[in-house]
């Protein structure tokens, strides 16, 4: 992954999201050791403090936990937790914006639903 420095999102948030993605795709499984801040710093050419902050976001949400002297490990049910949270927060926020944009473009409720159905169908066909 290449970080997008111009993005609105701070780099550490991008790091946290990338790590969540790794957990979601089960590249890192439950109870497995997650990358250290130094590994992350080297992987993404970022300052280790930035990487640490990304890890801290996950730690704050208990997605990872610290084992003394051993590093950070993925919590049990981390994947489930991420899925739930993303559904409620990220998807919720996106839908909010989607609805706002639809309103601005004067798209009716049924029209919007139709468009969503359409995209889902297309994805299923693929």
């Amino acid at each position: 992954m290449i970080l997008n420095t111009d993005s609105m999102k701070p780099i550490y948030v991008q790091i946290a999201e990338w790590l969540e993605g790794e957990i979601l795709s089960e590249n890192i499984k439950d109870e497995e050791r997650i990358y250290s801040q130094y590994q992350l710093a080297e992987m993404f050419t970022i300052n280790p403090a930035t990487a640490a902050k990304g890890l801290n976001i996950l730690a704050d949400e208990a997605i990872v936990y610290k084992k003394r002297g051993l590093g950070m490990f993925v919590s049990p049910n981390a994947k489930q937790f991420i899925l739930t949270r993303r559904k409620s927060q990220i998807l919720g926020q996106m839908i909010k914006e989607l609805v706002m944009e639809a309103n601005r473009l004067e798209v009716s409720k049924s029209e919007l639903n139709g468009m969503i159905q359409q995209v889902r169908r297309e994805n299923e066909e693929e």
Binding site: T5, P10, I11, E42, T45, N47
Partner: protein, 300 residues
């Protein structure tokens, strides 16, 4: 723990104050970016830190010692800039060997490894190098020296973008392996922002900001939209930058903390809430006058 302490530091050349009552502290084993526009006093400050120049007034301590003419400070620091000169008696590889006895932590294998990687001509004298190759070569010395205080003054001048990326990556990797205090000066923040921990922004010899790089990104917020609506929200607040955007439209930049509570409200009133690119923010913070280049044309 701080490695460099500056208190009320001033350096003047005649009437011109290159550094003007600057108080700052650089912390140990952090990568700090010294950001400022051309002529903002970056080089003067770094040369004082490296012990080349005497402060006109104020106090400066590096490793708790006055760096000017200090052997101790010199042994623990290195300043890499484009004025570094080497005798034509030395080939590039000679120079790398010659540096070895001076710097206690010098990493020869790293120096030669980087040298090979950049495929510079080992038999060439330093004075014949192109600007970019010179910067590249000098940066090898800076990285390999592993000086407890390593200072780079505009290290990527003339380098192509691939070489810049390689430099930042090499510096970071060696920093991870061997943490030390590093100062990087640049007029351009964006490309090195990622590897920085702290940012010291100076303008006309004075400090504008000194904060962790992570905070800079969230320091300011931009509001764009209907001029009246924007004004109603920012009334009475200190505006960092403002620009007439389109007919009846206004773009303002101000500290995020001033409007943090109102952000939701602002969004709902149809204004765009934008994050401000750090580079732009630096430009706004170091602008000599209010407004931008556009004002020149308006008046004309």
């Amino acid at each position: 723990m701080g490695v460099i302490h500056g208190v009320d530091l001033t350096k003047s050349y005649g009437k011109l104050k290159a550094i003007d009552h600057l108080t700052f502290e650089i912390e140990q084993n952090k990568i700090t970016g010294l950001i400022g526009r051309n002529g903002s006093g970056k080089t003067t400050l770094l040369k004082m830190v490296a012990g080349y120049l005497i402060p006109t007034s104020g106090e400066l301590k590096v490793f708790s010692e006055n760096p000017f003419n200090s052997l101790e400070a010199s042994a623990n620091s290195i300043l890499i800039d484009d004025t570094m000169t080497f005798s034509d008696s030395f080939t590039l590889v000679d120079i790398l060997k010659e540096m070895t006895p001076f710097y206690a932590n010098w990493n020869s294998s790293l120096a030669l490894g980087l040298f090979d990687y950049y495929s510079l001509n080992p038999k060439q004298p330093h004075s014949n190098l192109s600007k970019g190759s010179k910067s590249t070569f000098n940066s090898i010395i800076g990285i390999a020296s592993r000086a407890p205080l390593t200072i780079f003054d505009e290290p990527t001048t003339g380098m192509d973008s691939a070489a810049r990326k390689d430099f930042y990556r090499a510096l970071l990797k060696d920093y991870l392996e061997y943490p030390r205090t590093i100062i990087l000066s640049s007029h351009l923040l964006s490309e090195l922002e990622g590897i920085l921990e702290d940012i010291l922004l100076i303008n006309q010899g004075t400090k504008r900001l000194h904060l962790p790089a992570l905070e800079l990104k969230e320091l300011a917020v931009g509001l764009r939209g209907n001029a009246q609506a924007v004004i109603s929200f920012v009334e009475g607040k200190k505006i960092i930058y403002q620009e007439d955007f389109a007919q009846g439209s206004l773009y303002v930049v101000l500290k995020r903390e001033l409007v943090q509570q109102q952000l939701e409200q602002i969004r709902q009133s149809g204004l765009e809430v934008l994050s401000v690119a750090t580079d732009d923010l630096c430009v706004y913070l170091t602008a000599k006058t209010k407004g931008g280049i556009d004002d020149v044309f308006k008046k004309g």
